[in-house]
Symmetry: C2
Subunit: 298 residues, 2 copies
């Protein structure tokens, strides 16, 4: 990772933290515990890849950061909600997330269900908010539509349903790709598109190119996640290494082997970068970001 | 209930069913089971009170029904999502809903979590949709903001968190009212406001009057629900009568007694009707609807 990219990622990550802190203030009273559990889950660090993609795409298209904050916040809130629900006993039954007990372990299962529900609602509340809106209503509506589709049955929730049904099954490579594109890829692609829409690029060749970039990057990211689940150490990952294999979940390494999975992650990353040609030099940070995603160790 | 109201409710209910059928078509492939579970939960009948409130409010303000369909569909999708999650073992642990096994009983717990998640996303997708939109973008954004607030920590999810923590506790009447206003009242009030916004009434004295109407009606509805939980028979309710009391949940009858609860339901209904004075004769069906809510037997 080059020095300028490192510094830039850190700056965007910090901006995302500030936004999340603003949206997730502690509360007294009857819902204090719910708010505490939402803060516990959302303010536990993390890569913040999705908000970074909003900022990186938007600034590549010359948008002010202030026009991107709400979208960046919304995609991260949705990502955190999905983690909290995925970790539930009825889903992946995970005890550890980002090096700490998962939400239902630290609080309780009912609270974890509500944390996810409330974070999803908050994401749409943030995007719909009128106050100090730097974006026009049509652009905000388009962002909400892209986002709602990305997390629905055609996207994240559908992918998770396929994942749930796939435990102990042997998936074909194309079924596995379909699952990953929906479960992880759809929200990553949406993050890129929300940045574009925030910059006023709502259709056309550059919008389509960014859609391809986001789609390929999302798949590369999830394949690399599968690879790290095999290669990584628990301490570095912040979650239990080898957990997918232990649960009998089909992963890229289990279906295609480790070497082929690493090759595929690289190939999809290359396709993501190739799609950026349409944007010229402005997209150089997006290309570096793609390399970072595939070369990361956690 | 007067004859014209009965016929009108049936017509709106039928319109809502048609809209839901359109939005929840069966699918083949990897997510077939998720779609089947969504249809099982959303197309099981029910009072459809919330969409009826959208239609009743909107038409009182002279809106075409076509301008109200998306909002009516969205509020019902959100209501169904809340029922599916509330029924989960980690929440109310209910086996029966609308006379049939609850979603997690008929399918499985992981699927029920995803059904709720996907229905929430679908509600926002419906409202954000551009195609054939009869409403301008600003009005749709306002609808989404009202709705997102109504189901978040200040509304439904917050109310459910209070409910979860209240099992076995003795709540004060004002704490109980706070819980009910959030858990049930907020979405009922939002349904009224979405109808108003759909009719172009986005602020002002009539908007405020309808907000009061929705707020009081929502509370009256939930008190009556508590009363029916004591009085009703399982067959008529379609859920297990006396279930709240058996779980040690604080209810209006358990805190204030049955007679006082019935008096309060009536009083809040009267306040709802009083708020309608601002709208004159146009609101007569809304007034009848309030009476229907408090006099219903299921």
């Amino acid at each position: 990772m080059t020095e300028p990219l490192t510094a830039q990622l850190q700056s965007w990550r910090q901006r995302c933290e500030t936004q999340l802190q603003t949206r997730l203030t502690p509360r007294d009273g009857a819902t204090a515990r719910l708010h505490e559990a939402m803060r516990y889950s959302a303010l536990a660090g993390g890569k913040r890849l999705r908000p970074i993609l909003v900022y990186c795409t938007g600034t590549a298209l010359a948008a002010d950061l202030g026009r991107l904050d709400d979208a960046a916040t919304a995609v991260e809130l949705l990502h955190v909600y999905s983690l909290v629900h995925d970790d539930l006993p009825a889903m992946d039954d995970d005890d550890l997330r980002r090096g700490r007990p998962t939400c239902h372990k630290a609080f309780d299962e009912g609270t974890a269900v509500l944390v996810g529900d409330a974070l999803q609602a908050l994401a749409f509340e943030v995007l719909a908010g009128h106050a100090a809106s730097a974006l026009n209503a049509a652009a905000r509506l388009q962002q909400m539509q892209v986002l709602a589709e990305a997390i629905g049955t055609e996207g994240m929730a559908g992918g998770q349903a396929i994942d749930l049904a796939a435990v102990g099954q042997r998936l074909t490579p194309s079924a596995l790709e379909n699952m990953h594109r929906r479960k992880t890829g759809a929200l990553i692609r949406a993050s890129v598109l929300l940045g574009a829409i925030g910059a006023g690029t709502t259709a056309g060749a550059r919008y389509d190119a960014l859609s391809r970039y986001g789609s390929e990057l999302g798949l590369a990211f999830q394949i690399q996640d599968d690879v790290l689940d095999v290669l990584g150490e628990t301490a570095t990952l912040g979650k239990v290494a080898g957990a997918d294999a232990a649960r009998g979940k089909p992963t890229y390494p289990s279906v295609l082997g480790l070497a082929e999975s690493q090759r595929l992650a690289r190939a999809h990353c290359d396709q993501a970068v190739a799609a950026l040609k349409e944007l010229g030099e402005a997209a150089s940070l997006l290309a570096q970001l793609a390399d970072y995603v595939v070369n990361r160790s956690h």
